[in-house]
């Protein structure tokens, strides 16, 4: 091998070696902040995230506020515990996952598809550090959006909550003690008797009509268990109220703080999972569109089906679906995930799974997809 005199090598200009630990797998704060800037300036996806996580709940609650203000007798209050659970489990949970996954898929694939990946690789920076820098940057965006949307829901549901509690159809004042509820029941015996669950025959001279219409009929009618006086009816209603007091205390006008805190953390967990899985999948596939479609199918199609259907010999595989696992970590006050309709029996529709297994499944998904995405980024031709 020869090099001629005409191209004789020169002494290289003296230079200090950069002391920036470029081979370290840890991303620098500057890498995270510039990645945050890159994602935040994606106008389309940022508008989508904002509309879904903040706009939709705000619009829904805003319309309810206006309707209630315009016709309070026809339209109930905008907020309350029921609205809270519906929005959290029905909207923020599902759409939070999808928008987080979309942002994750974007963060995981755009450097490659837009030609920046090779520029970044040529810097000599560890590819693992380049991958990991996207996690805090993306989570900062998606979690803040989830937090804003959730805060709006909490505020409206608390401050625009109904003042009268709907207790199995009976319009009962909220926050009564047991003795106060019993006393109130004595003076509203027909409403209590017609609405609360009765373990036994209906008193004979009570006629409970449709839509809560109540009348006391002299001479009875219906399955008569004996004709009662008004005092006897009051006593019966008081016993009924005392027997159902525990259920009464479980009903809230506004969502309790513990439920809001738990729900908020649960939504943040779901969004975090969505982002990390999307990031790994986007990096693995190297393109966004297919990755986003797969994530939507997982959340909207596959998980609801798998949550309800018991497939013989595949129960454990079904339990390994991350949506099932997160559903099992749902706070107790929420029972409507995957449209199960709420109510005390809603949870029984879910495929049974212990909390420990649910946590293991979630950790496995997060770690597994992160490892896959990072591995692909470290080994991919740029």
């Amino acid at each position: 091998m020869t090099i001629t005199e005409g191209a004789a090598p020169l002494a290289a200009p003296p230079r200090d070696e950069p002391t920036d630990h470029r081979g370290s797998w840890l991303p620098t704060a500057s890498m995270v902040s510039t990645r945050f800037m890159e994602l935040r300036r994606r106008r389309g996806i940022m508008i989508t995230i904002f509309v879904v996580m903040v706009g939709l709940p705000s619009l829904f609650l805003g319309v309810r506020l206006i309707m209630h203000l315009a016709a309070p007798k026809s339209y109930g209050p905008a907020g309350g515990a029921d609205v809270f659970t519906s929005l959290v489990a029905g909207v923020l949970y599902v759409f939070g996952f999808i928008v987080a996954a979309t942002l994750g898929c974007t963060a995981g694939s755009v450097d490659l598809s837009e030609g920046m990946f090779r520029h970044l690789v040529v810097t000599g920076r560890s590819r693992l550090a380049l991958y990991l820098a996207r996690i805090p940057a993306g989570l900062a965006i998606v979690l803040s959006m989830v937090a804003v949307g959730f805060t709006i829901v909490c505020v409206v549901c608390c401050f625009a909550a109904p003042t009268i509690e709907n207790f199995d159809g009976a319009q009962v004042p909220a926050g009564l003690s047991k003795s106060a509820l019993v006393a109130w029941a004595g003076s509203h015996s027909t409403e209590i008797i017609c609405n609360l669950p009765i373990n036994g025959p209906m008193p004979g001279n009570i006629n409970c009509g449709p839509n809560g219409a109540v009348s006391i009929v002299k001479g009875g009618g219906g399955p008569v268990a004996g004709q009662l006086t008004k005092a006897q009816l009051s006593a019966f209603a008081e016993r009924l109220a005392a027997a159902n007091y525990k259920d009464y205390t479980a009903i809230f006008l506004a969502p309790p703080i513990s439920l809001m805190v738990g729900s908020g953390l649960w939504l943040l967990l779901e969004a975090t999972i969505g982002f990390l899985v999307g990031l790994g999948l986007g990096s693995l596939l190297g393109q966004r569109t297919v990755a986003v479609i797969l994530m939507i199918v997982l959340e909207i199609v596959l998980t609801p089906i798998v949550s309800r259907v018991r497939i013989p010999y595949m129960i454990n595989a079904q339990r390994a679906v991350v949506g099932i696992a997160t559903a099992h970590l749902e706070p107790n006050g929420l029972s409507r995930v995957f449209g199960s309709g709420g109510g005390p029996n809603a949870r029984s529709m879910l495929l049974p799974e212990s909390t420990t297994v649910a946590v293991i499944v979630i950790v496995a998904w997060v770690v597994g997809w992160t490892a896959l995405g990072a591995w692909r980024m470290m080994t991919r031709d740029a």
Partner: protein
């Protein structure tokens, strides 16, 4: 002509060694196709080095291997004395490169794209963004989105991306693509100024005229092999010489020269005679051509010796894509 030979001592000197780029037996296969086939390449520090070859010769693949963008199947390589990929982080710390068409995040401005790249380098790189943009002449458009940039501006932004790392070695793959004549001249001047600062520039291109004007040395690659490398002046000395002869009887002149041992190939043109002499022809041999013609009774009005250009020499030594070797 003195020949400098790579020695074991050069290799052992590592980062203090004389070579900016050093490869030995480098191989890259894509299935049955061997894109890079045992490339031996030595690029001295502080020069502009052209890496030339026809389309599909393996130029970009070699650059991608050097930069760690794809893995080599065999062989060793080093950048600035640091072995790659073993010591990749240190090797690339002072390397800037454009590979293929420079592409960036279109929704960000040129400055923001450079901020992302500077963040992956040392902290001082952030301070070099404005000077780099100014040097490539797009500082006034630095805050425009890249989608609004022309191809030439993206090329300039790519060079700016190289410069923020204060590189000792720049590897530029077809940097003239998309540039207008004025832009090509500016790029050429900039490359020369970078070399004047003591940096090494490796230029991959098939614009041979630009390479000839810019580079001190070249390597020619064809079908994955480096078939020639050295300084341009030395390589061209090994090329054929063409004599343009304006004379009274071109046909007779051709017959006269055909009977000599000069090894000349003649071609009669409408305005004279073209005589191709083999590589290594001396001035005395050119004078001998003139003497033979005059002694043969042919009046010579003008005789001009033309050294082959880099382009002509390149076509002489490379096989055309698709042709048998």
């Amino acid at each position: 002509m003195t020949i400098a030979t790579r020695t074991a001592d050069d290799t052992a000197r590592g980062p203090d060694g004389p070579w900016a780029v050093e490869t030995h037996g480098l191989v890259k296969r894509f299935g049955d196709n061997i894109a890079v086939n045992g490339v031996e390449l030595l690029v001295p520090r502080g020069c502009a080095f052209g890496y030339l070859g026809p389309n599909g010769a393996g130029k970009t693949t070699l650059i991608r291997m050097l930069l760690g963008l794809t893995r080599a199947d065999a062989g060793t390589m080093a950048l600035l004395g640091h072995p790659v990929p073993h010591d990749r982080a240190r090797a690339l710390a002072r390397v800037g490169a454009i590979v293929d068409e420079p592409r960036f995040h279109g929704h960000l401005s040129g400055r923001q794209n450079l901020q992302i790249l500077a963040a992956a380098r040392e902290p001082a790189a952030m301070q070099r963004i404005n000077p780099s943009l100014e040097r490539v002449g797009i500082l006034h458009r630095a805050d425009d989105k890249v989608t609004k940039y022309s191809m030439g501006m993206r090329q300039r932004l790519g060079v700016a991306a190289c410069l923020i790392g204060d590189p000792q070695l720049l590897i530029l793959d077809e940097p003239m693509n998309g540039l207008d004549p004025a832009g090509m001249r500016e790029m050429r001047d900039m490359i020369l100024s970078l070399v004047a600062e003591g940096r090494t520039v490796v230029l991959s291109s098939h614009l041979l005229d630009e390479v000839e004007r810019t580079c001190d040395a070249v390597a020619i690659v064809d079908h994955g092999h480096v078939i020639r490398q050295g300084s341009i002046s030395e390589l061209l000395q090994g090329a054929a010489v063409t004599l343009e002869v304006d004379c009274s009887d071109p046909s007779r002149a051709a017959a006269l020269l055909g009977g000599t041992t000069l090894g000349a190939r003649t071609e009669v043109a409408h305005n004279g005679l073209s005589v191709a002499l083999p590589a290594g022809t001396s001035r005395d041999e050119i004078a001998e051509v003139n003497r033979r013609l005059v002694e043969g009774g042919v009046a010579v009005y003008r005789l001009q010796a033309n050294q082959a250009s880099l382009e002509e020499w390149f076509l002489q030594v490379t096989t055309r894509l698709g042709d048998p070797e």
